[in-house]
Amino acid sequence: MAAIAERRWVVAPVHWATRAAWFAFAVYFVYALSHLELTPARFLAGLDYGYKFLTKLFPPDFQRWELLLKGLKESLEIAILASVLGLIISLPVSLLAARNLMPTWVTWPARMVMVVCRSFHPVIIAILFVKAVGFGALAGILALTVASLGFLGKLFTEAIEEISLKQVEAVRATGAPFMSVIAFGVVPQVFSRFIGFASYELDSNLRNSTMVGIVGAGGIGGTLFAAFQRFDYDFVCAIILSIIGMIVVGEVLTNAVKKVFRA
């Protein structure tokens, strides 16, 4: 018994590299604070500007509601079309990118496509498409389609790579052709997750569709940007409130879609 009582539990010491990393992070934080001149005086001055801005925002001005509605409608259309197109394209691409179903020489190019699509913020892609196809909703739809392909493709691929291969193997052992193996062995395992990802992407596209307009790719964003530049802050406020309304409605809708498909 004495031998047992004498044993001491020693907490493993923190590695010196971990300590060094924390210290370096703290030093950088202080440096960044001082570098950006975030002084209390600057912060108070900011509060003052903010207060003036807020008083100009309210009350919101809904007089130009037709312009507002047109922008919202266009944003909604961009979001829905881009989500559907992105979904349709990312289904086959993610299948090709799944390393548990495809050989490396197939997954590699498919993965490259998705990485490139995901590399840039939707607004940067939108700028490229505005230059390529001109101002308007088409550029916005294409930009968000590309962005959706990047994200849905990645999420779908990961879902496919996590399936149970035993179930796939059993279907394969019946002599089923490849597409039937997909239909019976793969799709049932990923379907409900795909619905979840797709509705999340629709949600995210609704948000993004209000932004691509700033660079001329259609939607409410263009209207918002113009109002800012003309200092029409009460109209800005109306637009912002409408966007919040649209996002909330979108959230309710995507939740309803998810419930319908919940398997």
Binding site: S164, K166, Q167, E169, A170, V171, R172, A173, T174, G175, A176, P177, F178, M179, S180, V181, A183, F184, G185, P188, Q189, F191, S192, A263
Partner: protein, 265 residues
Amino acid sequence: MTLTDTGGAVGAALQIRGLAKSYVRGKPVLDGITLDIASNGITAIIGPSGTGKSTLIRCINRLVEPSSGEIIFEGRNLVTLNRTGLRAARRQIGMVFQEYNLVERLTVMENVLSGRLGYVSPFKAWMRNFPSADISEAFALLETVGLGAHAHARADALSGGQRQRVGIARALMQRPKLLLADEPTSSLDPKTSVEIMTLMRDQASQRGIPAIVNIHNVELARRFATRIVGLSGGAVVFDGAPDALGDAHLKNIYGGESWLDGGDS
């Protein structure tokens, strides 16, 4: 003797010739297996874990690619078949798995009907548009395995024994000429194990098809098999009738002997 000559062994449904498989070069899991499987009866394959029982059975329908050797089935060498030929051969070989391998999120009916996927176009498969003859056969098979009431339940709602019955129904749905079973009872309790083995034996004999069954439980093997093949170190070390399998053979297959005292398990 020419290796592709199926006339050589009259009545053999499956001929395995010099089958070898190594996952790692120079470390064969199967080291030159040669077996003739008669056109009926249950062949039980016993042997310690990791000795290649699963690999052997999976080499037959090429869920595992053999490294060398020949497997002659229906007059064709399965080892050299291309993808189309392999699919055609797999349709004729039903397989039952240790963990049932049902598609969990599909209904029992869909799982059973997936046995016909080799005969239905992919488009019709997507649309669940199976011939009505297949659908009646699937219902009949579910009655046979005692699950008529569960046709529309989802596979993941069933118990282990029920799932394995669905697995057997799926394999039989292929109207197979050969039945493979990879440890079909290892996840089941003793009573259910006997029921499952009985079902497989009865179905195989009614259909006049041979079955090859990997099995851990020597007692079950003795009780249900018409022939026992003992595998050890990737080679056949026993091949004979269940009655001929004695303690000396078991020592040879599994090694050691203390486990044989006081009943085996």
